[in-house]
Amino acid sequence: MSQTAEAPVTAAPPPKKGKPALSEGKKAERRLGLLLCAPAAVVMIAVTGWPIIYSVWLSLQRYDLRFPDQREFVGFSNYVAVLSDGYWWTAFGVTALITVISVVIELVLGMLLALAMHRTLVGRGLVRTVSLIPYGIVTVVAAFSWFYAWNADTGYLADLFGADAPLTDRVASLAIIILAEVWKTTPFMALLLMAGLALVPDDLLKAASMDGATAWQRFTKVMLPVMKPAILVALLFRTLDAFRIFDNIFVLTKGANDTSSVSMQTYNNLIKGLNLGIGSTMSVLIFIAVAIIAFIFVKLFGASAPGNDPGGKR
């Protein structure tokens, strides 16, 4: 956004970075601010920090609920076991594939949807509400309707496409999982992108068309650069979400035919296998993967959290 709008808010003291001396009043204000934040921060640390630390601790142990007597500290051998395992990398590959394909499709469709919602003149509220319906449906419920639609016995979609039992075939299953995921979360993408579209000043577009820019040029040369922060945030959110895909796979294939995601596999090891050591190792690995994705987006592409200076770089 425009830098000028922010100037009056932050630039009260002379424009000098670093640690300017604060007045007594400012100090008191800051202390009060910290105090007011403290309870929320403490609660957040308690509910997020402790489980993370605890699972890291569990991941360093041999701890299988079925062998309670054999619990012991084993260092990083769980990590070696998981990272040298074929099943884990298969699941990792499947997860990455689903993430990349579904996010790319969502971005394109979401952009189209956002443009449509942005440009709608009549029934704007209705159009927006309707397009948000898939996002409002509980994922498991939506997944079940896809499941039955593609089921060999009851499925109208399976009949329509003449497929025998698409959910028993790996490629077809993955395609259906991605379809379900895209259908479900494109509205979310569109919503975030629409917020970005609202940032594009009409004057800029008018000026561009005065200069003879075609619609495509206006889109790529004017809108996209201005929207970049919003697009990156949308991509970041969706990538993180897609990487943790669970419900759709759980309902659609239960991970059969090598369609397990890393989250499914973690669930299988933790809840079905009762192996707290291996299961926690997997959740820590997912946490690390998610952290790396976030890092790449924030540091390399310069995405920033919404409300955190939409102007881009800080």
Partner: protein, 421 residues
């Protein structure tokens, strides 16, 4: 931190409310002892419970807590609660493959003394071995189950006795343009493990050692892989074999245009076909599961009742469990819910009502006499997941290399080092 004392009070109050709420929920009924039975949905099990409550004469009240319908869901719920030391669970309905796992985790109370004698009395050997772990009794058998060979006697008047005969018959029928398919559970799930285990036992082979601690995978186990591959790849089974669970197998035989000549499935299909396809039901006959040189050795299923180690009413729970699986209760469940009894004397040819509701009782009893048990091991869940994964799809089996893969993966699972797919 001026605000902290107030905050702490608030937190304490919130905590106290939570604790109070859960305590209130925990002791719902004040009057008398309540015994909670966690058991899979079974249509007429409530009548069995009502009968036992009558016999208890107010000493305790048994309450039926229904578990989810699918086995994984049942196990997950119990496991989660037992891992947290939940004292609300008294009697647990365990699938025959779960006893070692639960016993080893110290979640089950051992059966001793008079209770043990009563629970072992007159029980068939195969089912009884599923209730034991390390030579101790941890559960009382409630019902068992075995698959039979179902066939259409207009297609094959004499059923095949061995797999070889069945395969030849199927090829023969196919060339004559008659229904020919051999249907069995071939999807990637427990059902495929059951089929494979039956084949291995019929060959006299072994997957695990008797103590369940090491992998054997002997010649019989490899021969079974070869046979499984042959059946799956010679075009004599359902094209959607890799999607076939019990229900799909059952429906594929019931369809009016069915191409199936043979079905290997649990006895419930007999009742099911009467409604689904009355025409075919008239010719729907059963025989012993085929084997290698004679009848096969069939994998037993079924349920056992165990008492939770966290139960607060153990003596009453043992008594209640014994009533729920007594000979009368088992007879009632066999007639009304179709589940085969584990007590030998219930298989009584003079009992007209039983014989009428259960015409295939004699074949079931014969199979039970020489039944096979799935490998008894603490990590059965892992073993089953891995076996079904490695065997899928059955037509891609390569006997030697599949056996090597199974050996390697199963050993890792036994050491609880492996990763589940």
């Amino acid at each position: 931190m001026r605000s902290s004392p107030g905050r702490r009070r608030l937190l304490a109050a919130a905590g106290a409310t939570l604790v109070a709420a859960s305590t209130v929920a925990a002791c719902g009924s004040e009057s008398g002892t309540q015994i909670n039975v966690y058991y899979a949905p079974e249509q007429n099990f409530q009548s069995v419970i009502d009968q036992c409550n009558k016999e208890a004469g107010g000493k305790y009240e048994i309450v039926y807590r229904k578990l989810p319908r699918d086995a994984d869901g049942q196990r997950e719920q119990m496991v989660r609660r037992l891992a947290a030391g939940d004292t609300d669970l008294d009697i647990l309905g365990l699938d025959v493959t779960w006893v070692p796992e639960f016993a080893e985790a110290k979640w089950l109370e051992e059966w001793t003394g008079a209770d043990k004698t009563a629970a072992e009395d007159d029980v068939l050997e195969g089912p009884l071995s599923t209730a034991m772990w390390n030579d101790k009794l941890y559960a009382a058998t409630k019902n068992t189950n075995v698959q039979l060979l179902w066939y259409d006697d207009t297609v094959t008047p004499t059923p095949p006795a061995t797999w070889r005969e069945m395969i030849d018959a199927a090829k023969d029928l196919k060339s004559q343009g008659k229904p020919y398919q051999i249907l069995f559970t071939g999807a990637q799930y427990e059902g495929l493990v059951v089929t494979y285990n039956t084949l291995v036992a019929s060959y006299g082979g072994k997957i695990l050692s008797d103590d369940g601690k090491s992998v054997v995978m002997d010649k019989g186990a490899i021969d079974a892989l070869r046979l499984l591959k042959e059946v799956a790849s010679e075009g004599i089974t359902d094209p959607s074999l890799t999607n076939a669970q019990e229900q799909q197998v059952q429906q594929a035989f019931e369809r009016p245009d069915s191409d199936a000549a043979f079905e290997l499935n649990w006895p419930y299909v007999y009742a099911a076909i009467q409604d689904a396809n009355p025409d075919r039901a008239k010719n729907f006959k059963w025989a012993r599961y085929p084997g290698i040189d004679g009848p096969g050795r069939v994998t037993v299923g079924g349920y056992n009742l165990a008492v939770s180690a966290y139960s607060q009413h153990k003596p009453e729970s043992f008594e209640a469990a014994l009533c729920l699986r007594s000979a009368e209760s088992q007879r009632y469940s066999a007639i009304n819910d179709g589940v085969p009894p584990t007590i030998e004397s219930v298989y009584d040819g003079d009992d007209a009502e039983f014989v009428k509701a259960y015409p295939m009782w004699e074949t079931i009893a014969e199979e039970l006499d020489d039944a096979a048990v799935r490998p008894l091991t603490v990590v059965y869940q892992n073993l089953s997941t891995i076996t079904s994964k490695v065997l899928s799809p059955p037509q891609d089996i390569d006997p030697e290399s599949t056996a090597a893969e199974l050996r390697d993966q199963l050993q890792k699972a036994l050491d609880s080092k492996g990763v589940l797919p």
